[in-house]
């Protein structure tokens, strides 16, 4: 299969420009462009350059270790992996969570959404949006933002802090906690802890509303450019609650086509493989998922805040729902299909997370102590959650000795693989063709990638191989590792 600008017909005649590493994103990625002598673009690719082999080395481990291990895939959204794995293991146990356990997990999850969205918007993306995509590289970062608009930077830092504190109080630790366990949670929330969080939540709701205002204002000011930037049409997918509401913790899968028509709805994610398949391309360690019945050329889709806000029928908290309606109606709905619309949608979700936290903190169940449930033991477990970056799928099989015998993960960023590639190809068409390549121009490509808030670290859980030989030497010049490709195209050690 071939997508436009994916593969140049004569790469050897072209010059290569690389963005390496992609910065102000999480994880390890690079972009390569192939241009001819007139700077016309012939090939654009986002490569995911790291590998982990996680699905393989989790095998043979006891299932209860998994929620704690998997979160080490990603330090920005560890809670998402922690909870998706826990949900899969609930299924292995056949457990239906107690109300307190489910609400504590939801609290942890919304804390995670809040901190991750704040981090992405303020610490990583705001420099592009506030200063301009081609602005001076030296100040195009959070330090520059702190110098230019200290109030904005400070609110960003404090929003993130609040989300991290929720995680600490529900999971025991801000990064890589242990709060969720198969069948429930292992820590209740004390009255003091609840009150501590209650103290600041109204401020967080207010600042989240302001954040929606910031991105809305930026759209107003740059409407034509923002609507067109890196724009492409795509199908979309995400979880929705049984009544069609946005629900980032649990629901059924809903997919819509490019025109917004439903493709499937309330599909039981326990059978996700009936709907989704994946392709591998030689130039990236990240796979390319697509909807099976449409095939790889037609069936790719996007996930994440933009699709979730547009995909659901309503948001079950009033302020965010109000913002959602405004977003969808704004300029005849064009921002809701724009790549930069991801930022706007992300801030609406941050507001929804803050409101949800407020509601959960007012719910008496949150102080309950009935934390664990049991049921009839199963062999297969699938856990799906809407992580900050999109739909996250964890799938395990566990044998009668309680050991994991198979694992498959489709992380949020992987779903967006084709979409990110489409978006940067569109930017290349819009801005590059025929122009001299400058640092500021190259940043436009990264601005498009950042819209998706990719977690390239999560997306690199698989292993790959290279047709080269390499040796690793220690500081004294002794070879300590090496790798080469054998006659069968297989990597072998020394």
């Amino acid at each position: 299969m071939a997508f436009e600008l994916e593969t140049a017909s004569h790469p050897e005649t072209l010059k290569r420009v690389a963005i390496e590493p992609v910065s102000r994103v999480e994880g390890h990625g690079k972009v390569t462009l192939l241009l001819d002598d007139d700077n016309k673009v012939h090939q654009v690719r986002l490569h995911i350059v790291e590998f982990r082999g996680f699905e393989r080395f989790i095998q043979g481990r006891p299932y209860w270790e998994v929620p704690v291990m998997v979160q080490r895939l990603c330090g920005i959204c560890p809670v998402s992996h922690h909870l998706a794995a826990s949900k899969a293991m609930d299924m292995i146990l056949g457990a239906k969570l107690t109300p307190t356990a489910e609400k504590l997990r939801r609290l942890m999850h919304y804390g995670q959404i809040l901190q991750s969205h704040a981090l992405h918007f303020f610490h990583l993306s705001s420099p592009d949006l506030l200063f301009g995509f081609g602005s001076d590289m030296a100040t195009r970062n959070i330090v520059g933002v702190a110098a230019a608009v200290p109030e904005v930077a400070k609110k960003g830092v404090l929003l993130r802090k609040y989300g991290q504190e929720i995680i600490r109080l529900t999971a025991g630790k801000r990064v890589h906690g242990t709060g969720a366990v198969p069948g429930g949670v292992n820590k209740s929330l004390s009255v003091e802890e609840r009150d501590l969080l209650l103290k600041d939540i109204y401020q967080m709701v207010a600042w989240s509303r302001e954040a929606v205002g910031i991105i809305k204002g930026l759209f107003e000011k740059n409407l034509a450019e923002y609507n067109a930037f890196g724009r492409f049409d795509a199908h979309s997918m995400g979880l929705v609650r049984a009544d069609g509401a946005m629900d980032l913790y649990h629901g059924g899968l809903r997919a819509r086509d490019k025109s917004g028509e439903i493709i499937f709805d309330h599909f039981d994610y326990g059978h996700y493989w009936e709907k989704i398949s994946e392709d591998v391309k030689p130039w990236s360690y990240m796979k390319f998922p697509f909807m099976k019945h449409l095939g790889p050329d037609e069936g790719w889709y996007r996930v994440g805040p933009l699709t979730r806000v547009a995909n659901c029928d309503f948001i079950p908290t009033p302020l965010a729902d109000h913002e959602r309606k405004e977003f969808l109606a704004y300029d005849a709905g064009r921002p809701a299909g724009a790549t930069l619309g991801y930022h706007w949608a992300r801030m609406i979700e941050m507001l929804h997370a803050a409101e949800s936290i407020k509601d959960l903190l007012h719910d008496e169940d949150i102080l309950g102590t009935d934390l664990m449930a049991k049921g009839e033991r199963q062999e297969r477990g699938v856990g799906v959650i809407e992580a900050p970056r999109g739909t996250l799928i964890h799938h395990y099989r566990v044998n009668e000795d309680d050991l994991v015998i198979r694992a498959n993960l489709i992380v949020s960023t992987t779903h967006n693989n084709q979409a990110m590639n489409e978006s940067i190809r569109q930017v290349a068409r819009q801005y590059f063709d025929g122009r001299e390549v400058t640092e500021g121009l190259l940043n436009h490509i990264e601005v498009a990638i950042r819209c998706f808030d990719p977690c390239l670290s999560c997306a690199t859980h698989a292993l790959g191989q290279m047709p080269l030989e390499v040796t690793l030497e220690d500081a004294a010049g002794n070879t300590i590792d090496s790798l080469y490709k054998d006659a069968h195209g297989v990597s072998r050690g020394k």
């Binding site: 910065s23 393989r56 080395f57 498959n408 940043n443 790959g464 390499v470």
Partner: protein, 187 residues
């Protein structure tokens, strides 16, 4: 130091940070110093780091490395940091001893490749990625001190924000960094 003649802008410590085979959790823990980050940027300036757009490290006072070494590119970046940074720090379990990614060290690379990219039942078209743009993965994940000299090790997965803060403030004050009880974690 020379309090009378020092111009504040000149005394800023130049710091570079990077993530090799890590999950960015250590960088998150760094950001977990919260408001103190606004204080910190008065005292340090960032060179190459995931939060800036500087793609290659220049001369720096301090380099902070998250993650171990799992591919040829990691090795390259690690050498770049060692060459440019007066002090190099291993931040977190992955940099110190390989961490979770090193769980793959007892497995055969071929098996993992095939399972993930060829025999996984969810795949329509399998095939092991092999483009020259992808850095060669190493057979094993290595701690960074096996490859270059490291001056300080901050343990923990991740090290607590307060440990990172203590380390930095000690260094800024010209003291030998010392993490006392409560700041050393081995989780």
């Amino acid at each position: 130091m020379n309090a009378n003649t020092a111009t504040p802008a000149k005394t800023k410590l130049r710091v570079a940070t990077t993530s090799l085979a890590g999950c960015f959790g250590c960088h998150m823990s760094f950001l977990d110093i919260d408001e103190r980050i606004l204080q910190l940027v008065e005292l340090v300036e960032f060179d190459r780091s995931p939060i800036t757009d500087i793609k290659h490290c220049g001369p720096c006072d301090l380099g902070i490395i998250e993650g171990g070494v799992c591919n040829a590119e990691n090795v390259h970046v690690l050498h770049e940091f060692r060459k440019n940074c007066k002090i190099l720090v291993a931040m977190g379990a992955c940099a110190v001893n390989g961490g979770l990614p090193a769980q793959r060290n007892h497995l055969d690379l071929r098996d993992i490749l095939e399972e993930v990219y060829q025999t996984e039942p969810g795949l329509t078209h399998g095939g092991i990625p092999n483009d020259p743009e992808l850095p060669l993965p190493l057979n094993k994940v290595h701690p960074i001190h096996e490859v270059v000299k490291i001056d300080y090790f901050l343990p923990g997965c991740p090290p607590p924000a307060d440990a990172i803060w203590k380390f930095l403030t000690d260094l800024l004050a010209g003291r030998t960094p010392h993490l006392g009880h409560g700041l050393l974690h081995y989780d």
